[in-house]
Point group: C3
Chain length 145, copies 3
């Protein structure tokens, strides 16, 4: 069974990430600055290069790779929760090159913004802390099953 | 012209789907359990395998196919409405493999979760019921044009 | 540093775009009709053909291309702001063909709807106007850095 917490909408923001900024770092910095500890983020735009992760479900390690070319961000979807007590942004991105070919993965540091427009929402409610999960090797939300 | 109903935000949830669960079934079960009859869902995560649909606009039949490998869910977007009077989740997913290559389609039963984090929102307002649409062969919302 | 404005949730709508309509034009018309000058849109569905843009970061010009086949819309993410004082929809789409292969880009006029379900949200708060940005050659939101 899936598990979920009821939350309430909190502060809502619309904005842009600066040209040349690191996409994941910039979003994380905003959450720290505004003390957003639970929430959601969505974005679109373009990057100068992307660094993505794929989680190897067998070895239980992330494999990181770079797509070293300008790409459109066709979708960024992420959430905000706590890891080691600090706001942590977990985001996945879908990207497209000049031919329209699409790429995707786990957003990693090293993704450089060309232009990016985002919507960031805070939620009020039970905080979610990421803990090591033995089954997957990931840091997942500690919630009663 | 497009057609739309004004609605109000209802209950809001953040949670995770259990490892090994069927992604579409788990989301549907949550809607049934919480009696969410109108709403929105978004998610990211990873699957052990995906089963997707593509709607053939000529024959007006879904073609289903399996991508039988671990994949990141880079974006799941869906809505909740009624079909035969029961909560029905309609979701599309974008996925990526270990090389970053992206796949997508209509989320079908048979997509097995590795880890999945979602945000589920209920809307209050006029309920939307899916009825057979002669033009497309799909079950679309019955709304005045 | 990223820049953002705090806003409040406004009117919320769920609806569908008519079969055969131009996806971007229909969404824009809805914003004009409802006087939505700031907001967010998300959608899924299918198109008969897609016309997409890729922004060439070197020449600072959009390159447009057509994917002339039926495709699923796996994700449409967009925002609403002002350009020349008028509501302007900026949306990116991810699409998939019958093999599950994914495409993506900036949604351009010329994308013809087969069926499309959307959620459109207005935000109340400081309006955002698109102005020419010298660094990128794009029309970006005028916000203090």
């Amino acid at each position: 069974m899936a598990t979920m917490n009821k939350v309430e909408p909190g502060k809502l923001f619309i904005g842009k990430v600066r040209h040349g900024g690191d996409l994941l770092e910039e979003l994380t910095t905003l959450c720290l600055k505004e003390n957003i500890r639970l929430g959601r983020v969505g974005a679109l735009g373009a990057v100068q290069r992307a660094r993505l992760g794929f989680y190897d479900q067998q070895t239980q390690e992330y494999q990181f790779f770079v797509v070293d070319q300008p790409l459109e961000i066709t979708a960024l979807l992420g959430n905000v929760s706590l890891k080691d007590g600090t706001p942590f942004v977990h985001a996945h991105v879908t990207l497209a090159d000049k031919t329209g070919h699409a790429y995707g993965g786990h957003l990693a540091p090293g993704t450089v913004v060309f232009a990016c427009e985002f919507i960031l929402e805070a939620f009020d409610g039970p905080l979610l802390e990421r803990n090591f999960d033995e089954t997957t090797g990931l840091h997942l939300w500690a919630m009663p099953e």
